[in-house]
Symmetry: C2
Subunit: 292 residues, 2 copies
């Protein structure tokens, strides 16, 4: 039995919220999709692109009567949004989110969403450096992982419904404890972003101190470009991810710094076999990642 | 007047040496190309692929009568090679190399090559994770930078000839002091490689300590894959690069670690505006790199 909603409310019609709206409408999974936001130009684009049917600025008006609410705003705004309308949700309304951090945010949402409604935490792993609905697409989630993070309080039918939505979007859906999610994503996503941001800033300092006479980055090859591509990601979004996943990111940055210092120690000591051992360990693991 | 050689000797017929042989032969720039090496299977492949006309194991035999010699073995073997045949080179023979480190190696080569011959240091920036002549191609250097590193001792005509060879290969040729080369490449290439190798090893430790129950890297997205692609590079080659460019790599790793620690400090302190400032600085620089 296919999932079908009468009234979907998408709070935050950006890259992720907008793409999900396109999919729900294109596949006929929703009679009516309303977008809630403040950037009128973006919302108009969302209507033109078929991501939403109409838009409102007032979230209370937008969620009234909704059977499915997608919270797709920056994670730092969840509290403000859910305090405004979380208590007003009707019996059986399913609320899900798309945030990149889950543990503390799922706990917060469960406390702010009406007892009558069902919250299901979700994280489609389908970012881009680009933002806004104009960069959205019905294919954005195709083949990508989507992690749902049910807790002891999660309604099983609501979980199954949210899973069906993401499967319809072409995602590979997994379930995981929200705090485990944050450890895992801290490692495979948040730490690499921190590494890339810091690497670019380090190169800026190297340029200023060591090669002020030339345009250092003009000598960048494919290696540096790949390694730092994600340093062009949204500073506001990543500020919030780092802060909401603070403990994991700090602990994982410590581990990363220790490995850099160990490699530095081996190089400084001229320890060829030691360096080769470290690099071989890395190469072996990285090659398995290619095959995965 | 186009460059033409009677007898080219390529010492080390791998990805770089082999591709250069293919270009010299395909473009009719050499009457005869001999490959010098020890891995017979690879050398046979080089003949089949048209990278060399024939091969010998004895370097002295291979360089006898050569007017152009390309040293394309791992940088750590330069001393051994040049001690064996550097003093035997004929009047006016041009010798060039393709190593990723220049300062100390150019000085070493200038001391070991016969006074009658002309050494010109070179570094085509066209690596791949793959190695061996089988991965070679006449297009390998097309559009890629090639840095030549003349010194006060470099013969101007030899420099012009080597430049013509790389321009014929489709490279954008630049000249730079060999020690400046090592600072620049340390920053834009060696440091990112160290960062990628260490990041993979850090993730292995995170997995063992924080998520032993799951296959952490199975959750990797495009960001991690890009950031660590170069961690699949040759451990032997990168061991040698790190050792030969030791001082720059160590100093630049220190700068990188300081930036990671500063970002960690801001995250730990919950300093949202401070984090955002760091990330915005990185994003602005990285976006200029996209446009370069």
């Amino acid at each position: 039995m296919a999932v079908h909603f009468k009234h979907v409310a998408i709070v935050g019609v950006g890259l992720i919220g907008g793409s999900l709206g396109m999919i729900l409408k294109r596949r006929g999974m929703a009679d009516h999709v309303v977008g809630i936001g403040r950037r009128v130009e973006n919302l108009k684009t969302a209507v033109e692109l078929g991501a939403i049917d109409r838009y409102v600025a007032d979230a209370k008006e937008g969620i009234a009567g909704a059977d499915f609410v997608v919270l797709a705003t920056p994670v730092d705004t969840y509290e403000r949004h859910l305090k405004e309308w979380g208590g007003l949700l009707a019996e059986g309304t399913i609320v899900t989110d798309v945030g990149s951090v889950k543990g503390p945010l799922v706990a917060q949402a469960e406390g702010l969403v009406s007892e009558r409604a069902c919250f299901v935490g979700g994280h489609p792993i389908a970012g881009k450096e680009k933002t806004g609905v104009a960069a959205g697409s019905v294919d954005l989630f195709k083949g990508a992982r989507c992690i749902l993070t049910p807790t002891a309080r999660t309604d099983a039918r609501a979980l199954a419904t949210v899973r069906e939505v993401w499967e319809a979007a072409g995602s590979v859906v997994l379930s995981m404890d929200p705090f485990l999610h944050d450890r895992v994503l801290g490692a495979v996503s948040h730490l690499p972003h921190a590494a890339a941001f810091a690497l670019i800033n380090a190169l800026t300092e190297v340029k200023e101190r060591q090669t002020p006479e030339l345009d250092l980055l003009a000598y960048a090859g494919g290696g540096l470009r790949d390694t730092t591509r994600i340093a062009a990601s949204s500073p506001e979004m990543w500020r919030d991810i780092f802060l909401w996943n603070r403990d994991n990111v700090v602990a994982q940055l410590d581990i990363y710094v220790r490995h850099l210092q160990e490699l530095k120690r081996l190089i400084q000591a001229g320890d060829g076999p030691g360096i080769e051992k470290e690099l071989t360990r890395a190469k072996d693991v990285r090659e398995r990642l290619n095959k995965a």
